[in-house]
């Protein structure tokens, strides 16, 4: 390693391990601080929610009632809304993001790559509330008058696409989140695909593979663990997305099979109701929703880690 060599002259006399030890403990403290921070967030949420936890117990997770007037609370419709809107967003954003990344790394002429990357990165920096307003005034009317009508007409036999069309809906929420996580999924996928060694492609070409076969066998297969990671990062962002979703999802705590029906997410209800909540139990219930969101996020990340592990190491050995 050339860097290690160039720094040799300034190393302390042989035998002194003080810098090593200091560095080790500093790094350890930094790692510990992150764990402590997560534990602290968890504890504070639990502490803030204790009245509600004591009153409703596990029933909180399965109750569909949310009535601040009579102080009865349940989280189920919000958990449902968070999961469904996030999964919808992933289903839309991951294929699109990976395809865009493939185009940018494998197919696009060199001189247009950088401009497209810049545009994608600009999309990532648009504030959430802007997407929300655009959602209300542009996206939702278009969905209501065109896409949803078409979906109902062609796929109306599925329970997913039945019922009255309001425009604001679970599907609109999913679409807006998909647009918002698209830049992160695309950027990360692009980095992953760029890191696929050129040798992989050359080897596949040497075997007589077509361009599509090269992409499928040499690139995608090699990169799938990384691409899965990109999807997980996208999901993380989707679960916590608040403002834009609140503006287009309809904010009705209801569980419906139809994607045209309005829904509600955990993050949205907290953002909506926290500022004006005055009774103690009400505030505690909102804290408990935060705790649930925290737990859902952690559980999904653990599940993703386990899936990654079961996918094996990927790489050349997996090419058949």
């Amino acid at each position: 390693m050339p860097t290690a060599q160039s720094s040799l002259p300034v190393l302390p006399p042989m035998g002194s391990r003080a810098p090593d030890i200091t560095f080790k403990w500093a790094a350890f403290a930094a790692a510990l601080a992150i764990l402590a921070l997560i534990a602290l967030v968890g504890f504070e949420l639990y502490h803030g929610a204790r009245l509600s936890i004591a009153k409703f117990g596990p029933g909180f997770l399965v109750s569909s009632e949310w009535d601040p007037v009579s102080d009865r609370y349940g989280a189920l419709p919000f958990i449902f809304g968070t999961l469904v809107s996030s999964v919808l967003a992933l289903l839309l954003a991951v294929p699109l993001g990976v395809a865009a990344a493939l185009f940018l790394t494998e197919l696009a002429p060199f001189r247009i790559r950088q401009p497209i990357v810049t545009v994608i990165e600009m999309l990532a920096s648009v504030p959430s509330v802007i997407f929300g307003l655009w959602g209300i005034f542009v996206l939702v009317p278009w969905l209501r008058d065109h896409l949803f009508v078409w979906l109902k007409h062609t796929l109306g036999f599925l329970p997913l696409f039945q019922g009255p069309i309001y425009g604001v809906s679970m599907l609109a929420g999913g679409i807006i989140v998909a647009i918002m996580i698209l830049p992160i999924v695309t950027s990360i996928s692009r980095e992953i695909l760029r890191s696929v060694p050129g040798l992989q492609r050359e080897a596949a070409y040497a075997l007589g593979a077509t361009r599509w076969e090269v992409i499928r066998i040499a690139v995608l297969s090699y990169a799938r663990r990384g691409l899965f990671g990109a999807a997980v990062l996208g999901l993380g962002r989707a679960l916590g997305e608040t403002m834009a979703v609140t503006m287009v999802i309809g904010n009705r705590p209801e569980i419906s099979a139809s994607l045209f029906a309005p829904g509600y997410t955990l993050a949205s209800v907290i953002a909506n109701e926290f500022t004006e909540a005055t009774s103690d139990l009400y505030l505690n219930a909102l804290f408990e929703l935060g705790l649930v969101l925290f737990a859902v996020t952690i559980l999904i990340n653990i599940a993703a880690q386990m899936m990654l592990r079961s996918m094996g190491s990927g790489g050349v050995s997996k090419v058949h």
């Binding site: 601040p68 209300i136 005034f137 209501r144 604001v168 503006m247 009705r252 509600y264 004006e276 005055t278």
Partner: protein
């Protein structure tokens, strides 16, 4: 570079020290924030030794912060509950400042002027009246062609004083609403969609043919939304305006602690869906210097300040209520 920065920092510290400005902190309701800001701006011109910092974080936050004594005054769109008042270390007084109205906006072809009464409105929001040409609506609107269209009910999704006033009104005029839903800054809505903020509700109503929603009068004015005339307790259909809100407050029953509701007020010209907003102050101020400045400011607010309200689409207090508020301010101890 560093020296310049230091000089600026010291300069700032020195100048603020020389002025010896007293900073009065407040937090709470968002609805009256524009008029309060205006008051602070005008008042600091009269008394430059005092400065105000008001954070519109919501009524819930305002109540919490005044209870914790982290602010010098709180502000709330709904009166504090007995349970919350009991937590206060010393008595907290409610003093009304201005009032606002909630209007019913709608999206119908041709924007006809429509009239509604309370029970019909409650039935619409309960999901019982679902068509625009329902006899309950058509009966009050002779001469208006109402379409055979579904009513799309829109309400606020965020906790809000606007929702509190609206549900308070529906609870007054409909026993059914009172039993099934009740009143609050957030309720369990039996029907419809939630929009975030006045803009969210108005956007939803504007975008969806057949929609009905409630927004603040000021917001409806500024955005030129159509709104319905409502039947008041005296049996007259009244349009929302500053005058009809003042008329409502003048005829509402206001108890000594000022925790009153002015919905469905009895006056002939009273607009039925209106409500006041309150400042929350301790009856005994901890810090004599701040207490004195706060009282001086409030005295100004209830005399000259009230005159600025109408220009910002808020209803000022009627003369009699102004006097009562002023008396209350005068008895704050510091």
């Amino acid at each position: 570079m560093k020296n310049t920065l230091l000089a600026i920092v010291f300069g700032l510290a020195a100048s603020s020290g020389a002025n010896a400005q007293l900073l009065i902190n407040g937090a709470g309701a968002t609805f009256p924030a524009p008029i309060y800001q205006k008051w602070f701006d005008e008042y600091t011109k009269i008394d430059p030794t005092v400065q105000f910092n008001y954070q519109p974080i919501g009524s819930g936050g305002g109540q919490k912060q005044i209870l914790a004594e982290t602010v010098d005054f709180g502000a709330s769109d709904g009166p504090m509950s007995d349970a919350n008042l009991a937590k206060a270390p010393r008595p907290i007084w409610h003093i009304p400042t201005v009032a606002g109205a909630v209007v019913i906006s709608y999206n119908l072809p041709g924007d006809p002027a429509i009239r509604l009464d309370g029970p019909t409105l409650a039935a619409i929001y309960l999901g019982q009246v679902t068509k625009w040409n329902d006899p309950a609506i058509a009966g009050q609107n002779p001469g208006v062609t109402l379409p055979d269209q579904d009513i799309l009910v829109v309400h606020r999704s965020d906790g809000s004083g606007t929702s509190y006033i609206f549900t308070d009104y529906l609870s007054h005029v409909s026993p059914d609403w009172k039993a099934k839903v009740g009143k609050g800054v957030s309720v369990s809505w039996p029907a419809g969609l939630g929009g975030k903020g006045n803009a969210g509700v108005a956007g939803q109503v504007k975008q969806s043919p057949g929609a009905i929603g409630y927004v603040e009068l000021a917001y409806a004015h500024q955005n030129k939304l159509p709104f319905a005339a409502l039947k008041n307790a005296a049996g007259n259909y009244v349009e929302a305006s500053i005058d009809s809100v003042v008329a409502a407050m003048a005829t509402a029953t206001i108890p000594d602690d000022f925790r009153f509701s002015m919905v469905n007020a009895p006056g002939d010209a009273a607009y039925p869906i209106s409500g006041a907003t309150w400042l929350l102050v301790y009856s005994e101020q901890k810090d004599p210097a701040k207490g004195q400045k706060l009282v001086q400011f409030l005295k100004w607010a209830y005399t000259d300040g009230e005159k600025l309200a109408a220009a910002l689409d808020y209803a000022p207090l009627p003369a009699a209520v102004q006097q009562r508020a002023l008396d209350r301010v005068n008895s704050i101890k510091y």
